[in-house]
């Protein structure tokens, strides 16, 4: 991409994404407002979160129009974090059970 011309996209696109982010935020707020509980709550929260994150990264940060080498250099390394989350979830569960056994 020519650095002088840069990323040129119509303003109407940004306004549409802005509107979508507003709608998605309102919907995730309503999940709490209407006291959804259990699996439905977690699913909705995660879906709205990922949709919002995807719109921001793809359109506002222009990653959708960058070359694939840059896109993968940015998006692949954070996948390591899933390993960390998995390990710490197992560790946290273990700590919880140990505490139940010895401190309750």
């Amino acid at each position: 991409m020519n650095p002088v011309a840069g990323q040129q996209h119509p303003i109407s696109l940004y306004l549409k994404i802005w509107g979508l982010l507003f709608v998605l935020s309102t919907m995730s707020y309503l999940v709490d407002y209407f006291h959804f509980q259990g699996a439905l709550r977690w699913t909705l929260i995660i879906i709205f979160m990922l949709l919002k994150a995807g719109l921001i990264v793809a359109v506002f940060m222009h990653l959708a129009w960058e070359r694939l080498s840059l896109v993968y250099a940015i998006l692949v390394p954070p996948l390591c974090l899933l390993v960390l989350v998995g390990l710490m979830a197992a560790e946290g569960g273990h700590t919880f059970l140990t505490r139940l056994q010895f401190f309750h």
Partner: protein, 233 residues
Amino acid sequence: MNDTATIAATPLSPTLAASGWRGLIADWSSDRQAFHVSWGKAMMWIFLLSDTFVFSCFLTGYMTVRVSTTVPWPNPSEVFALHVGGADIPLLLIAIMTFVLITSSGTMAMAVNFAYRRDRVNAATLMLVTATLGEIFVGMQAFEWSKLILEEGVRPWSNPMGAAQFGSAFFMITGFHGLHVSAGVVFLFVVAFKLIRGDYDKAGNYQIVEIAGLYWHFVDLVWVFIFALFYLW
């Protein structure tokens, strides 16, 4: 031009031609470029990638203490409720903060657009609007912190509502995010000032606005995750 042609023809020449520090740089760069964007944009992306790991470690730490505690976690929906017109509205302030930050992302995206059209005045104005919205966000966060510390008695080591880890996780995560917003406001003011002064006209390169925008959108992006995982969970 001739140098590049020679290097391309004989792959060993850069190592032979330079030694010491110059040789080290030549060996590592080898006159190759992986990312076809300006160095400023590439470095901002790499910085944001490292910042992703910082925030993810905080959020993972929060997850770990939350699943491992045997004491009930305070209900964020009630803790962050605002008393308006005789009723408690859950998470009202947080919802307003979310909308303010999303709006600032929208104005920032438009500022980038105007900058590339060489419309300095509109670009700088929209950046100032973005920075002001960022300040409003930090102001509301300061209000939220004071309410929690002074009225509800939340401390990093204890709180009256439940699990003690709530305070440390909350202050650490939102505090670090608030610092990012504050730094972004300063960054935006500096770039907007230089834009108005005409510093970027000589080279005709306005990419710094897009780079500042990348940082700002990232701050908004982190808030999306904090909102979902800390406030709504």
